[in-house]
Structures are given as structure tokens and as C-alpha cells.
């Protein structure tokens, strides 16, 4: 029993107050757990490699579907028939900081490149590991998306660079991936690296190099952007906006559904229910694309058919018109279409290649770049490439 009567009140009060700093100052009281996130530093070990590799894939897939969607609006693949202002403006050919998938693609590129850097710090054998090859391939394809679709591209907070410079970066990533995948003995990754580099080289005008890389790809090859019903950001973006039962926000473009060639081409599936079937804007005719019907439908990033068309284009540029015609016919045959019946001139073949690419690569994020490359008159008076985002402009002093 404590006898407090001998303790003056003032001292008891003082004792009370001594508790205060004790509590306020005690370490740990303010520490709380965050069980829902991973702290940055916890990723810098080998246990984080698988998650970072998969993360690079997930971020790329999200960026790919978004880019395919936006690009379809600015090109002649789709027409906006809904209510979202930024999509509407893009479909009208107006490009602003609010249009395009810059943030998704730019971040996906950084994530893949950051993973390469981390893997080299974490693993001594990084340059012979499949994971490093995988993220290098995602870095390369992200760079292709940037170069194909954006007017000027900053990397890592640097100055804006030309698409050509970005294609060179992509070529470098694919070459690196090729070496690592070869060292790791990963045949499928080797093919992806060749396929990516073939495209980069074609865009850089290195036709011999493009042809040589594309020839490495056997029939049946496909590299896909993988999508799922959940989580939402891994959805294929098209069904939610362009399948009539879900939402009639984005229609197939009249340039597609009014063109008899596309009407008979199984690679460009759509349903035209007539003029009275309108989009959610209440006015515009809505024609439903039937290529992607489920949010979990995967999308082709690269395929053997694309490689044959790269070879064909390179062949035309290298003067080998007969080879080009044969390659076109192979791709058409595979689609169940009759062989090319037009003249075997450079111009006619290039026009046919442009059509074959439009059909083969429908809603696969390449149309805008192709329209620019083939000087499509549709682009006159319209934006021909996307701007970087407001966030990049605000935060990157090198592009402000």
C-alpha cells in the first residue's frame, strides 16, 4: 500500500505529467503495418525476380491494349459513337495531352528497364537468365509502342527524342534479349526477340536486317498480350466499349465497314446492323467489332503473319517483287482468301501490303504508324501521332 499523504500534491501531478513524454516519445507507438503493399527495398533480392518479371508483362499488356484502343480511334480502325470527350476528340483527329496511352506505355517501359537494372544488381548470372531476356523483350516492345504512336518520346525523365532514336533503343533491347535468351537456351524468347527486332529494323529502314530477322520466325509463331476478366486493368479494353451488348461507345470505322475488301476479309470481323443501330451518343451508326468479344481475349503483339508481311515489304524495298507477291499470297492463303490478283509493280504491291497489314494487324496498335508510313490521305488535317501526357510535361523539366 502506498501512502500518498506524505507526497505533496504538486509532486503527484508532476509524476502524472512524466507519463506524457513517456507515451508520446515511446518508439513503436506510431509504427503501423501495411500488409497490402510491398516496400520498394523488399524487392531488391532474388525472391522479387519472378514478381518483377511478371509485373513487367502485366504492365506491358495493360499498355498494349490501351495503345491499341487509342490508336484505333486516331486511325481509321474505329469511330467514337459514345460520350467520353477525350475519345470523341481523338476520333475527330484532335490530339491533346488528354489523349493517348502515354502514361501506361512509358511506365511499362520503365518497369521493364528497371527490372533489367535490378536483375543485374541482384543476380550474378543475370545475362544468362530467362527473366532478364523476358523483361528486355518487354522493354523492346514498349519502345516500339512509343516510337510507333508518339511524336516525341522522353525516357527516364530526359529530353524528348525522335521515334527513330527510340526504334534504335528498341533494336538494342532486342539484340540484348537475343543474346541473353540464346545464352539461357530459351528458344521461344529468341523468336520474340527476332520478331521485335525485325519490326524495329523495318522502321529504321534496315530492310535487309528486317528481312533476315523476320525469316527466323517459323509459321505458327505468335506472341500475345495476355488478358483476363480480372483484375480490371488486365482486361482487353475493346469489349467493354465496342461490343453492342456491353456498351456502344466505339464503332468500327466506316472506312472499314464500307470497304468491300474488309467486308469479305475474315481477319476483320464485324457486324453491321444498319443505320438505325446507333451508339450511345444516340446518333452515330454503330458497327460492332467481333475480333475481341470477351475482356479476357488475348491480343497479338507479334505473329508469323506480320513477319511474312515485313519480309514482303523489305523484299519490295530490295527490288525482289516476286518474293513479295509470294509472301502476300501465303498470308492470304492462310486467311482463306484468294491470291493477290493485282499487278506486280512496286506501288501496287506496297498498296497491297498496306491493306494486308491493315487487315492482319486490325486493332493491334500498328495502324496509325502504317497510315503515316504509307501516306494515307485520311490523316490530312488530323493529328498523326500522340502527344506525351500533361503529367510528363509538368514533372519532367527536360520536356516542359
Amino acid at each position: 500500500m502506498i501512502d500518498a499523504t506524505r507526497c505533496p500534491l504538486k509532486l503527484r501531478v508532476a509524476a502524472t505529467f512524466l507519463l506524457i513524454p513517456l507515451l508520446a516519445g515511446c518508439e513503436g507507438l506510431l509504427d503501423v503495418e501495411n500488409p497490402g503493399s510491398i516496400l520498394e527495398d523488399d524487392l531488391d533480392n532474388e525472391e522479387g525476380v519472378a514478381a518483377l518479371t511478371a509485373g513487367a508483362a502485366g504492365d506491358f499488356n495493360e499498355a498494349f491494349t490501351a495503345t491499341a484502343f487509342w490508336t484505333s480511334l486516331l486511325s481509321d480502325e474505329t469511330l467514337h459513337t459514345g460520350t467520353a470527350p477525350a475519345w470523341r476528340n481523338t476520333s475527330l483527329g484532335e490530339v491533346s495531352v488528354e489523349s493517348g496511352s502515354y502514361n501506361d506505355v512509358s511506365s511499362a517501359r520503365w518497369v521493364a528497364d528497371d527490372a533489367i537494372r535490378r536483375f543485374r544488381e541482384i543476380m550474378e548470372d543475370a545475362d544468362s537468365r530467362a527473366e532478364t531476356a523476358t523483361v528486355s523483350i518487354y522493354a523492346g516492345f514498349s519502345l516500339l509502342l512509343l516510337a510507333d504512336n508518339f511524336c516525341a518520346i522522353p525516357l527516364d525523365g530526359g529530353e524528348a527524342r525522335t521515334p527513330a532514336a527510340i526504334y534504335e533503343e528498341a533494336e538494342e533491347r532486342f539484340t540484348q534479349a537475343l543474346d541473353i535468351a540464346t545464352a539461357a537456351g530459351e528458344g521461344e524468347l529468341v523468336l520474340r526477340a527476332y520478331a521485335g527486332r525485325a519490326r524495329a529494323r523495318l522502321m529504321l529502314g534496315n530492310h535487309a536486317g528486317a528481312r533476315s530477322d523476320a525469316q527466323q520466325i517459323p509459321e505458327g509463331f505468335v506472341f500475345e498480350s495476355v488478358h483476363s476478366e480480372t483484375p480490371n486493368d488486365q482486361n482487353n479494353m475493346f469489349p467493354s466499349q465496342s461490343v453492342a451488348d456491353i456498351r456502344r461507345e466505339v464503332s468500327v470505322h466506316p472506312r472499314v465497314y464500307e470497304d468491300p475488301r474488309f467486308q469479305d476479309d475474315p481477319r476483320v470481323p464485324f457486324i453491321n446492323r444498319g443505320e438505325d443501330f446507333v451508339g450511345v451518343d444516340g446518333n452515330s451508326q454503330f458497327v460492332e467489332q467481333r475480333k475481341y468479344l470477351e475482356r479476357s481475349d488475348d491480343m497479338q503483339v507479334s505473329s508469323w503473319e506480320e513477319m511474312r508481311l515485313i519480309e514482303a515489304e523489305a523484299a519490295v524495298n530490295l527490288g525482289d517483287l516476286g518474293a513479295a507477291r509470294a509472301l502476300i499470297d501465303r498470308v492470304r492463303e492462310d486467311a482463306g482468301l484468294p491470291p493477290y490478283a493485282g499487278p506486280e509493280t512496286e506501288a501496287a504491291l506496297m498498296e497491297q501490303i498496306a491493306y494486308e497489314r491493315a487487315a492482319e494487324l486490325f486493332l493491334e496498335a500498328q495502324r496509325l504508324n502504317d497510315m503515316r508510313r504509307f501516306d494515307d490521305p485520311f490523316l490530312e488535317g488530323r493529328g498523326t501521332c500522340f502527344d506525351i501526357s500533361q503529367e510528363e510535361k509538368d514533372a519532367n523539366p527536360n520536356v516542359g
Binding site: I2, L9, L23, L30, V32, E40, A54, Q390
Partner: protein, 990 residues
């Protein structure tokens, strides 16, 4: 063995440390509560010398209103300079036992009355009768207030402004169904911004404008000293009107509300308080016979027919079907409420028990929008020892709410009708619904079911006149279930084979508040009151949700029946803890100087910034107590000056650089950049200076309370964009901004007449508030809230409305275009507000109450009209086209072109309004008429709310806010206007 004083201190500290040690290791909530309770218990266990053992007697009597001669219930009766006190019962009677024999001063305090005092000589063992007659007063500086002070104190010593609402009176005379109604237009500087007429949709409360650009702008709310949840977290996703937990506060259980308006007074609440503090005091028991009160209310509610689809019935669809006016959707919602309470007490043990039930239907449309709410409360207080009093407050609320999808939703009920294109009407879509037929929208079931318990125990220990200590430990527990259900066969977008989402939110918030006070006289003229305390608020919020899509057939309504099932879980723990020291020096009981310091830590602060320190100082000068003051015609005058600081902490985990776990490639675990983090993150810091006066004139029949304030918030948290090319696409929360607020508040309370037959009282409130963003740092200008056209721009008000540029019209092409920079239009929130209420009581039986309020200086964006026009519908467009076909005209096309050019800013207009907010007529049935009934009293009331609106705004209503309780954006977007309500109620006591 006797212990020395040092031993006592040592043992006290050891006990405290033993209790705290596990807490240090684990920091868990329960342990923290237990530790603090132990610490206080250790102190309480120290027996005190009984300074009070002496001969005593009893004082009893009645307190009566001098004008009406009716008993005054609930008046505080206490013996000056002791802790002896009680409240008068319903009959105005009081009994004070244990009064020391000899000469003592008995004092009375009651809201709305002048205080009274009388010197009484108490005989040992005897009973002395003392009756008091009080006179009504428009101002009362004897009122005890507690919010924002270390210790309960009389208003006369308060150097800052403090709003208070006599909730009991408001509920009795006004037209109030929820807490929002209770606060609206009652206290200058406190803006209630309602959102819509959807039942269950909450508004927001903003005190002295907005001082933060990124954090929670809602004031902190305490109930009987315990912090409670008033957020709008969770809730079924209806894309617009959202419910907030403010709706769980039951007005009929509330006695009084105190409101801290700014940083000058909020200092002691530390790092979460700069948006203001609201403290609610629930009703307590009163000594006397048990007294039952029963109230039954029946009412109707109906939103005004303002939907912009009045022309729809001029049009016919392609098959000749005539469209319907959108306003035909409106029905009459039925309201009913019942409450029963029991109040009484014996000696020092008093109780208040209550139960209530409310059932309210929305008028758009009742089947899809209703609220059912039951509540129970038990408040007990007892003085087991002369020096120890205990109070237990417990409240339980069960709320069930059904909400239609609304506002910015393709699934909305009124939205689909209003957005309908009438010249496309069919038999199935009579409004020409573009997205979803109204009949299908009504099949979507969104429910919120909430169970909530808020309870606390307060221990007050008065071992001597010098020293007092006080401990409140309380818990607020919210258990919330939110569901969204689309049945199989749903004939609309996205979910043709059905969908069910069930989200559970569980939130526990524990409050521990310990205070100790030493009061003494330093000299004949100088008094001192030193208070110190420590407070901790520990919050755990967890959510778990499951979503199932694609049912195999009809009749299924569980998420587990879906073919695609996903789940989500979150868990957030937050801790805010700190201590304060406060000293008040009084000179001659008229000049009071207060200084205080609060030191605060918050778990959301970055690693480089763990604590914040907030000082305050204030001066109160009761100049009317000076001899030179002409107190005969100006009896009360207090001058006030206060300076203080408070903070607003960032969201938990904002400081950490994190990666988010995600599922990719159809089920492979992965990570993606989440939050850039900022180790230097700390609280926003608001500094405020306020000056004013409290004056009573004309025999205290005219009260004036004036306050001018100037507030500066530095370190305002803003998201500084991070370049996406560096991976993290979000922004980095950084303490870089500065916001300035200033304005004044004026209350004028006038008792025109207070006679036995006629009483007439008027209360006027005026406020002016201006905000300005002084600095946005690297964050730069940014837009706020979808559809609001509001931007944050340096040198302009917080979230003013902006046009995108200069509009040009090409008469040849008949097209509009924009040029130049954005153009400022005006603020989104009212800059000037006022309210005027009048209460007229005739013959003590008939009371007529009216409340009008107004707001000016702000602008509202009509996004409904913009989207309607873009979809070539709505009255504004249809007026310009051919009827009944809807064929286009050049004028209609120009309007569409205008809207496509201007976007959300197409229709911004002044939101000034004047509303007849409340009107009621009450009649107290004469007692003789009740003789045949077992009733003591009965009153009947007819009341109405939102009866008339005068405004130049041409949307559905200038007070709408499409995003409900989530944030104030000052825009309507297919929003339902606030409803008019009429009700008839009967109140009885027995």
C-alpha cells in the same frame, strides 16, 4: 512500511511503464487502451486526503422562467468553488446533498438564460429551500464549454470563438430528420452543403471554407469525447450520391453541439484538426421521477418537378409512341419515425435511455430508395464517491439503406429518364432511354447495412479543489455491408447474366483522453488553471469484398454463384497520439490569458518527420466588468483575441514508396509501381488569428457575437506530378502549398418580447469567407472533381470555376472555337451566407418557427444540360428542334457545337439562393385536456422543410452536388434536387 514521496513517483512510473511496454513492442489498439487505462488507474488508486470530511446539509428548490413562470428543466445548479452540482428535473426541481455547512453561493447556468447566484446559509443536517427565477438572455457568458480547452470553462474566459447549438431546442421546434439538418444554417461559418434529394445521400460540412487542397475537408467529430467516423468510405458504388456515417448520429439523442471553427481553437486536437472540430453531447439523465417521452411522426417527401425533361412529351418515337415528361418519375415518399425515451435519476445516479426507429422513402422512386434506421442509447452517470464521478455513454444504430444508381451512372433511374432521347421513345423505353430502360434500372439493388456501436466511459476524479483529473476511454465500431446486385437476365450493359458484389467494411476507432488540471489562486487577483493531457486515437479499418459475375441462371443472388469471382482486402491502421499543456491566468475574473502547446505524432508522417508541435495563445477581456463600463445599457462585453495552429495529417502510407501486388497473365502474382512515397511527409499546418467580441445589450435581450479570422495553411499537401517516364504514374504527395482563408462571422440574437403571453425571438447569422491559393509549388494548377470545371490556380479561390478559354463564333461555318488561356468565373462555394430564424410563442402554447437561409457569391456547373445537349436531348436542346420528330435545326446544331467546344464549362451560372428552410407550428395541449389520459404533456406539430427556393440558377437546384458525400464539386449531373418534406408529429411525456 511507509513509502517516501520519491517511492510514490517511482512506483507510479513503474506501473505506467509496465503497462506501456507491450504497447511499445506491438503498438496494438487493445494494448494501448489497456495501458492508458492502467496509467490512469494507477493515479486514481492513489488515495487522497479527504479534504471534504465535514458537517453538511441540503439545498433544494425550483428554477422557473421569470417571463412564462414555467419550470426550467436541465439547468445546472452548483455550489460555487466546490464540485457539488446537479441538473434540474423536468419539473424544474433540484436537490443538492452534502453541502458544507455555513455560507455558500449557489449558482445556476442554463443555455438561453442569464446566470443567477444566491448566497445561502446551510445548517448542518438541515434543508434549505432556495428557488430561482431566471430571465431569458440573448447572450450567456456563464455557459460552460469544453471543446478545444484542456478543461471545461466558462465562456467568459474563452479567447476564441466557439459555435454551439442547442440541439434539444432545434429538434423540438425545427424540421430536422438527421444530423445534417440539425447543423444546417445554425452557426455562422459552418456550411452544410447538401447534395441531393436522394434519401440516404449525405452532404458535406465545411468550416470556414477549405484550407486543404488534397486532404479530408470534413471536420473531426466527437460524441461525448469519443472520436467517431463520419466518412463516406465504402458504400455501394452508385456513381453519385454516397452515404456518409454522419447519418448514424441521431438528432433526438443530442443535447448540445459545440463547433470549433478554425485552427486558433483546434490546437489541442493536433494533427487532424485544421478542418474544424464538432463535439456532440448526448442527453444525460436528470434526477427525479422516471419520465417517459414518446414522439410519433408521419410525413411526406417529394422532390420538386425540376427535371429538365419537361418537353419530352411533345415528342414521339419512330413508331409513334409519345414520350413521357421525366418529372412523371416523381412519386411521394412516405416518412415515419418513432422515438421513446426514459429519463430520470435518484440522487447522483441518473439515466437516459432511448430507442428510435425511422423509415423514410425517397420520391425518385420509393421502391429503389429507402432508409430504415433503428437506434438505442443508454447514458448513465453516477458518483460512487464524493470525489469520483462516472459516466457511461453507449449508442447503437442499425441502418439499412437502398440506393438507386444515380447521377453519373449509366445505370441511374432518374438519369436514364433525363438523358433519354424522347424522339426515340418506344413502348419499352417511354423516355427514349439510351443506356438502360428505367424499368431495368429499378431491378438493380444497391444496399448498405450498417451496425454501429459508439460507447465511452468517462471518469472524473476531484480529490481536491486544487486538482482534478479526467479520463475518457471510448470506442466507435462500424460494421458495414455494401452490396450491389444485378439479377440474371439484366437487360442492360456489362452484366447480362448478373453480378453481385458484397463489400464489408469494419472500422474500429479507439479514443483515449486523459487530462489533469491544477487550479489555484496565485494571489487575491490572479487565478491559475494549468491543464495537461495526453490523447491517442487508434483507428483500424479493414475491408473485404467479393464480386461474382455471370450466374448460370435466374434466382441466384450470391457472389459465390458467379462464374467469375474476385476478391479484395484492405487493412489500414492509423495512430495519432500526443500530449498538451495549457495554462490560463485570470486577472480579477475578467481578463484571461491562455497559452498552450500540443505535441503530436502521427503514423502517417514520413520517417524524417515524426512529430509536430502546435502552440496557441488567447486573450479574453470582459471589459463590461470594469467600473468605467456603462453596464446599465450595455451589460455584457467581452473582447477576444486568439492565435493558434493545428494540422492535418496525410493519408496513412502516403509516405512509403511501395509496389502494388497484382495478378497478371491470368493468375500470375506480380508487382507494379504504386506510390512514389515521400520520407519528408508531415502534416499540413494551419495558423490562424481571430479577433472578436461577445456583447449583450438592452438588458441582455440583444446579443452580438462577432469574429474576424485570418488563416494561413502552409505545408499544404499537394500531389507533385512524377514523370511517367520514371515509372510511377501517380503524383508524389509533398508539403509545398499555401492556402489563405479569411472572413468574419456575426451572430445577432434578439429577444423582441418575452412576456407571459408572447415570446418572440430572432436569430440572425451572417458569414463571409474568402479563400485563396497562395502557392501551389511544383504541383502547378490542377483540376478538381469530374465535371465541376473547378481548378486550383495560384492567386484564385480554392476550386473556383473556370472556362476553358475565350469563345469565338464563326458565323459562316456556324461553329465555335476556343482561344487563349482558361478564364476565371468565380468560386464554387458560397462566399456569403446568412440565416434568419424567428420563434414566436403565444400564450405559452402555440409556437411558430421559421428559418430562412441564403448563400451568394458562388457558381454551379450544370453538367446535366451539357450531357443532355451532347446527346441531342434535354429541354435546352429540344426547344430548338422540330417537334414531335426531333428533326435537327441549325440552332440545335449550334448548341451542340457550343457544348462540344466548352465541355463541362458549357453551363456555369450563379448559384445564389434564398430558401425557406424550415417552418413549423407547434401546439402544446393544455394539461386539463389530458386529465383523462395518463399523460403529463402533449404537443402537436406540423412542419415543413425546403419549402420555397428563390434562385436565379436554372438547373434542378443550386445546392446539388453530384458526387455526394465524397467531395464537394459544385456541379449537378443528372442529380435529384433536394426534397420538400412535410410532417405531422405528436410528442408526449408521461
Amino acid at each position: 512500511m511507509e513509502a517516501s514521496c520519491q517511492d510514490v513517483i517511482e512506483r507510479v512510473l513503474r506501473r505506467g511503464w509496465r503497462a506501456l511496454r507491450p504497447l511499445v513492442r506491438r503498438g496494438s489498439l487493445a494494448v494501448v487502451g489497456a495501458a492508458l487505462a492502467s496509467a490512469a488507474a494507477a493515479l486514481l488508486l492513489i488515495p487522497s486526503p479527504d479534504l471534504k470530511a465535514q458537517a453538511t446539509g441540503t439545498i433544494q428548490g425550483t428554477v422557473t422562467d421569470g417571463a412564462t413562470m414555467r419550470p426550467v428543466s436541465g439547468a445546472q445548479v452548483f455550489v460555487a468553488d466546490t464540485d457539488l452540482g446537479t441538473l434540474t428535473g423536468e419539473d424544474g426541481r433540484y436537490v443538492l446533498d452534502g453541502v458544507p455547512a455555513g455560507s455558500v453561493v449557489v449558482r445556476i447556468r442554463m443555455m438561453g438564460y442569464s446566470g443567477a447566484r444566491e448566497e445561502v446559509v446551510v445548517q448542518a443536517g438541515g434543508t434549505t429551500n432556495v428557488d430561482f427565477t431566471l430571465s431569458q438572455s440573448a447572450i450567456n457568458l456563464d455557459e460552460i464549454v469544453v471543446t478545444g480547452r484542456g478543461v471545461g470553462t466558462e465562456r467568459r474566459s474563452l479567447g476564441n470563438s466557439l459555435g454551439s447549438i442547442d440541439a434539444d431546442e432545434v429538434v423540438r421546434t425545427g424540421a430536422v430528420t438527421d444530423f445534417q439538418d440539425l447543423v444546417q444554417a445554425r452557426s455562422p461559418g459552418v456550411q452544410v452543403l447538401p447534395s441531393s434529394g436522394t434519401v440516404g445521400a449525405s452532404g458535406v460540412i465545411r468550416v470556414r471554407g477549405i484550407s486543404t487542397l488534397s486532404q479530408n475537408e470534413m471536420p473531426l467529430v466527437y460524441v461525448d469525447g469519443v472520436r467517431v467516423d463520419v466518412s463516406s468510405e465504402g458504400g455501394p458504388n452508385v456513381s453519385g450520391q454516397s452515404p456518409s456515417r454522419m447519418m448514424d448520429l441521431i438528432p433526438s439523442d443530442i443535447e448540445r453541439v459545440e463547433i470549433i471553427r478554425g485552427a486558433a481553437a483546434a490546437t489541442l486536437y493536433g494533427s487532424e484538426a485544421s478542418s474544424g472540430v464538432i463535439q456532440i453531447f448526448t442527453k444525460s439523465g436528470r434526477a427525479g421521477e422516471p419520465r417517459w417521452s414518446l414522439q410519433v411522426e408521419q410525413g411526406l417527401e417529394r422532390v420538386p418537378a425540376n427535371f429538365p425533361g419537361k418537353l419530352y412529351d411533345n415528342f414521339v418515337g419512330p413508331t409513334g409512341v409519345r414520350a413521357r415528361d421525366t418529372n412523371e418519375l416523381i412519386e411521394t415518399g412516405h416518412q415515419q419515425s418513432y422515438s421513446l425515451s426514459l429519463r430520470g435519476g435518484e440522487g447522483s445516479l441518473t439515466y437516459y435511455l432511448s430507442g428510435s426507429y425511422r423509415d423514410e422513402e425517397g420520391s425518385v422512386v420509393p421502391v429503389a430508395n429507402y432508409l430504415k434506421q433503428g437506434s438505442a442509447r443508454m447514458n448513465l452517470s453516477a458518483d460512487p464517491y464524493e470525489s469520483l464521478s462516472l459516466r457511461v455513454n453507449m449508442g447503437y444504430v442499425n441502418t439499412s439503406l437502398r440506393l438507386p444508381n444515380n447521377d453519373n451512372s449509366v445505370f441511374g433511374v432518374s438519369g436514364n429518364a433525363t438523358a433519354g432521347v424522347p424522339y426515340q421513345a418506344t413502348e419499352e423505353r417511354r423516355w427514349g432511354e439510351n443506356f438502360l430502360p428505367v424499368s431495368e434500372a429499378l431491378r438493380i439493388e444497391n444496399m448498405q447495412d450498417v451496425e454501429r456501436f459508439t460507447g465511452g466511459i468517462t471518469v472524473e476524479h476531484d480529490p481536491s479543489d486544487l486538482f482534478r483529473q479526467h479520463l475518457t476511454v471510448g470506442l466507435d465500431v462500424v460494421s458495414q455491408e455494401d452490396t450491389e446486385f444485378f439479377p440474371y437476365g439484366f437487360e442492360g450493359p456489362f452484366y447480362p447474366t448478373g453480378r453481385k458484389e458484397n463489400s464489408r467494411r469494419s472500422r474500429n476507432e479507439a479514443t483515449v483522453d486523459y487530462r489533469a488540471v491544477v487550479s489555484n489562486e496565485l494571489s487575491d487577483r490572479i487565478s491559475s488553471s494549468f491543464a495537461a493531457g495526453l490523447q491517442g486515437v487508434f483507428t483500424n479499418t479493414s475491408t473485404a469484398s467479393v464480386e461474382g459475375r455471370d450466374f448460370p441462371g435466374p434466382g441466384l443472388s450470391l457472389a459465390s454463384a458467379g462464374a467469375v469471382i474476385t476478391g479484395d482486402e484492405t487493412r489500414v491502421e492509423e495512430v495519432n497520439a500526443g500530449f498538451f499543456l495549457e495554462e490560463t491566468l485570470g486577472l480579477d475574473d475578467r481578463l484571461f490569458l491562455t497559452g498552450a502547446l500540443r505535441v503530436d505524432g502521427n503514423s502517417a508522417f514520413g520517417n524524417n518527420f515524426r512529430h509536430q508541435t502546435y502552440p496557441k495563445a488567447s486573450l479574453a477581456y470582459n471589459i463590461s466588468d470594469e467600473e468605467f463600463w456603462p453596464s446599465s445599457f450595455w451589460p455584457t462585453m467581452k473582447l477576444r483575441l486568439a492565435y493558434g495552429t493545428s494540422g492535418l495529417a496525410p493519408a496513412q502510407f502516403a509516405a512509403d514508396r511501395t509496389w502494388e501486388p497484382i495478378s497478371v497473365l491470368g493468375g500470375v502474382p506480380a508487382v507494379t509501381p504504386e506510390n512514389l512515397g515521400n520520407p519528408d511527409l508531415t502534416a499540413e499546418r494551419s495558423r490562424e488569428i481571430e479577433a472578436g467580441f461577445d456583447a449583450g445589450l438592452l438588458d441582455s435581450r440583444l446579443g452580438l457575437v462577432f469574429t474576424y479570422y485570418r488563416q494561413k495553411t502552409t505545408d499544404a499537401l499537394l500531389g507533385v506530378p512524377s514523370p511517367p517516364s520514371l515509372g510511377f504514374t501517380g503524383s508524389q504527395l509533398t508539403n509545398i502549398g499555401e492556402v489563405r482563408n479569411s472572413g468574419f462571422e456575426l451572430e445577432v440574437n434578439n429577444l423582441w418580447l418575452s412576456g407571459e403571453n408572447v415570446e418572440w425571438r430572432s436569430d440572425l447569422g451572417l458569414s463571409v469567407q474568402e479563400t485563396e491559393i497562395a502557392d501551389l509549388g511544383e504541383a502547378g494548377a490542377f483540376e478538381h472533381g469530374f465535371g465541376s470545371s473547378a481548378r486550383a490556380v495560384e492567386g484564385f479561390p480554392v476550386y473556383g470555376k473556370w472556362l476553358p478559354g475565350e469563345l469565338e463564333w464563326d458565323s459562316q461555318e456556324r461553329t465555335h472555337s476556343l482561344s487563349g488561356d482558361p478564364i476565371y468565373v468565380g468560386p464554387s462555394m458560397p462566399t456569403h451566407r446568412g440565416s434568419l430564424s424567428n420563434t414566436l410563442t403565444l400564450f405559452g402554447r402555440v409556437t411558430i418557427f421559421g428559418l430562412a437561409d441564403w448563400a451568394t457569391g458562388h457558381y454551379v456547373a450544370n453538367v446535366t444540360r451539357q450531357f443532355q445537349t451532347q446527346g441531342r436531348t434535354g429541354d435546352a436542346y429540344l426547344r430548338l428542334v422540330e417537334a414531335p420528330s426531333g428533326d435537327r435545326t441549325p440552332a440545335g446544331d449550334s448548341l451542340v457545337n457550343y457544348v462540344n467546344t466548352m465541355g463541362n464549362a458549357s453551363f456555369i451560372s450563379e448559384g445564389d439562393f434564398l430558401k425557406l428552410r424550415e417552418l413549423s407550428l407547434s401546439y402544446d395541449v393544455p394539461a386539463p385536456w389530458l386529465r383523462s389520459l395518463p399523460l403529463e404533456s402533449m404537443s402537436l406539430q406540423v412542419s415543413g422543410r425546403n419549402l420555397l427556393t428563390a434562385t436565379g440558377y436554372d438547373g434542378v437546384d443550386p445546392e446539388v452536388n453530384w458526387s455526394g458525400a465524397d467531395e464537394f464539386v459544385g456541379a449537378e449531373f443528372y442529380t435529384v434536387p433536394p426534397a420538400r418534406r412535410f410532417s405531422l408529429s405528436i410528442r408526449t411525456t408521461f
